[in-house]
Symmetry: C2
Subunit: 500 residues, 2 copies
Amino acid sequence: MALVTTNHLPLLSTSTTKTILQPRSRIRATTETPIQPQRPNFMINIPNIISNLLHIGMVGNSFPGNLFIQDSYNRTTPAASPKENISSLQDELHGKSNWSNLLNPLHPWLRHELIKYGEFAQATYDGFDYNQFSNYHGSALYNKNRLFDKLGLTSSGYNITKYIYAMSNIELPRWIEHSLHANTWSKDSNWMGFVAVSDDTESRRIGCRDIVVAWRGTVTTTEWFENAHLKLESINDVDKEEGDAKVEHGFLSVYKSKSETTRYNKSSASEQVITEIKRLVAHYRSKGEQVRLTITGHSLGGALALLNAHEAASTIADLPVSVITFAGPRVGNDAFGDELSNLNVKVLRVVVKQDVVPKLPGVLLNEGLEKLEGIIGELQWVYKHVGMELRLDVNSSPYLKHHELDLAGFHGLETYLHLVDGYVSEEDEFRRNAKRDVALVNKYGGMLLEELRVPESWYQLENKGMVRNAYGQWVMRDREPEDIPSPCRDCRPSAIHESL
Amino acid sequence: MALVTTNHLPLLSTSTTKTILQPRSRIRATTETPIQPQRPNFMINIPNIISNLLHIGMVGNSFPGNLFIQDSYNRTTPAASPKENISSLQDELHGKSNWSNLLNPLHPWLRHELIKYGEFAQATYDGFDYNQFSNYHGSALYNKNRLFDKLGLTSSGYNITKYIYAMSNIELPRWIEHSLHANTWSKDSNWMGFVAVSDDTESRRIGCRDIVVAWRGTVTTTEWFENAHLKLESINDVDKEEGDAKVEHGFLSVYKSKSETTRYNKSSASEQVITEIKRLVAHYRSKGEQVRLTITGHSLGGALALLNAHEAASTIADLPVSVITFAGPRVGNDAFGDELSNLNVKVLRVVVKQDVVPKLPGVLLNEGLEKLEGIIGELQWVYKHVGMELRLDVNSSPYLKHHELDLAGFHGLETYLHLVDGYVSEEDEFRRNAKRDVALVNKYGGMLLEELRVPESWYQLENKGMVRNAYGQWVMRDREPEDIPSPCRDCRPSAIHESL
């Protein structure tokens, strides 16, 4: 899989006027070789008013570091804990009581579930075709029946039933990866995530049939921070009264856009996902089963998850809806937050203290920051976070660099999952029996200490997908026929297997 | 093979004061996606006096471009011409008459031989372990018996008999790739090239037993242009009289350094290579065969090739010595050039008009340019090119971008080989029946037109050498036992096979 190193990062404009935060490369320890060809060399331009929001603690923790790392960095133990039956706490784990008593200290079962959903969110990145020279740039690399296996999520306990596509919008072209060339699968749409459902075994383990929706965050683009219209748009189809629930226009546009002239978005992402959720709910209820909905996403995928949750809870009766987001920005105003509460949607936001994105109003991920400097105070007031927060700290981990300013790394989902894995409580240190493979942190970045000898941004295709054909010529490898995207196959939901 | 994208490029200091030449990313056509994660984002700082040297023609040729490309970009023909018996012209092709009548127009047999030797030079890059996290960083990826096969040079007609190692020097630490960690194979030495000899079939084809020495250019480092001592050092062990042959100190240091405390350089590169050449010469002469020596290298490998040629011609009687360099800098003074002539060493320098490096005195590849601004005129006078020149032009190829300033691309050996492949004469256009795989141009850079849909810098290891072990943990792949470097195996020359 050819993957861009900074697909998690909302890249700011590279036209630098004031550079508050230095490019990562200048804060490197001197023992490092200066040239790191895989690292994006980005200049960050953030107005002063924003830098105050950062409150980044740069004081490192000094563990008896080396011994700890060598003790714990055991490459010969399985990289996952055995699965336990957690059904006795199923409602609490799904957020019924807003995860009170489960966050501090973090209940091990909740930790496991957070990583489970986080890995679904991660799959929307790992499974995305970033290769501009591929005919299927912007689609999923594999068909929905193969995706989990190919990404190493074979024993997830879930099966994907439908892929979700979202279309680009004239106002927001930056949201969508465009192939540089005539695209044989779609000019307008990108793969934005999937709907999956727990199999029988997993359903028994967790106590309920679980429908999961995982939304993909935006891929690399500097245009996140370029000029766009600043709009708060009503999320409901009613008059725009005072107190009306509003969300940032850009997110809503991705969620709702459609066009008859497209192949994959004659229906919007919203319509696709709600239709599929309703279908699954109806199916399992007809069998007498309890069903619940869990929606997850990282970064802007977290924003889409909240929009999805609002709509699902509004349109499907008696469905427990929970949202687990990682590094999500603020999405809407107070009224929007109130509506989610009234709909009984449970939201848990996993946030890294040093990560910029959760501090920002969502609109700033679309706008030029310098234009808004005067009104950011007002925006802060306008844009609110909803739900409960699990707050993580880069400095808590003895595996990560503590003295570098790495905005991409702070925001990366693999960093988040590493920190969740080690989290015990607000007071305790990173747990020593954390099992999750530490090397994963460096798939897309370089947060790991050099001593761990894991290359930065290591997750990449051999020869970027180039292979030698029968004549010895190097050509771009093509997709297996089964993985060629097709509106018919990918939009038609899987028959629900009775054997699940 | 994990390969750094700019291993051919002498990177200038990134501390920018005057930016004469803009970073490549700003001159991109607007249809291109801004983020090219694999491209090095380098700022070039070149004083005015140097920019005059560049004479870079930025006027593009407009071919009936698209049609030509589609016609010629045939991926279903073999990527090499059949080999012809060229023995009738063997002396001329080896430079006996300084290649007069063979350069303009370029004789097809000479074109074929130039690409042959260029691919040996390329093998010193492709076969180099650039991976800082590898235990064998700085060594050859494969043992000498496997290297050509693993790099796709199976039918080269040559067999490698010895690897050459050079050691780092306190004065020139930048020359050598240092592992970030305790290096189990060598702290001091780098693989610098190889000695090979033509097999019986190839010897009959070309008319003579051909000993080839291929030298590697310096790998990525910004330190090329950082401060170092400016010294011209006498190449002979005599008093430093006026008119004495002098070469740039840095090159000579790499060629001559040794230390008893090292594993791979108890003898210098010079001693290793001359010993092996003498051994092969003696062996084949004892069988009554004619022998000749051809030395090749790209960039600073070209500089080492000239030093090697000087020494070989000085110490081995009646041995025809030719040097084929690509993108080589100026190495020494007039007197040095005269000595090479007197020794009857034949030198052919392949040069791309837009490439900076051949314009520079070799010393500038080690010095900070700004320090020398006042004396560059004097240096030009001091540093001279030797031999014949084959001059190529980026704008002659309809496959390459013409309107971008890409110093790395202009200097890249794959660019050179592409242009040699298409070269007909000073007056004629790029030949339409050029067969060499165009995709190779983009192995380490991005010179190819976007329409050709070849990714930039595509030559890379899957997951940077990370693999999943039996426990599902990602770890760095280790070398096959046969490819683990060993002073005993790699320094002891191969038994010369009678069946060759």
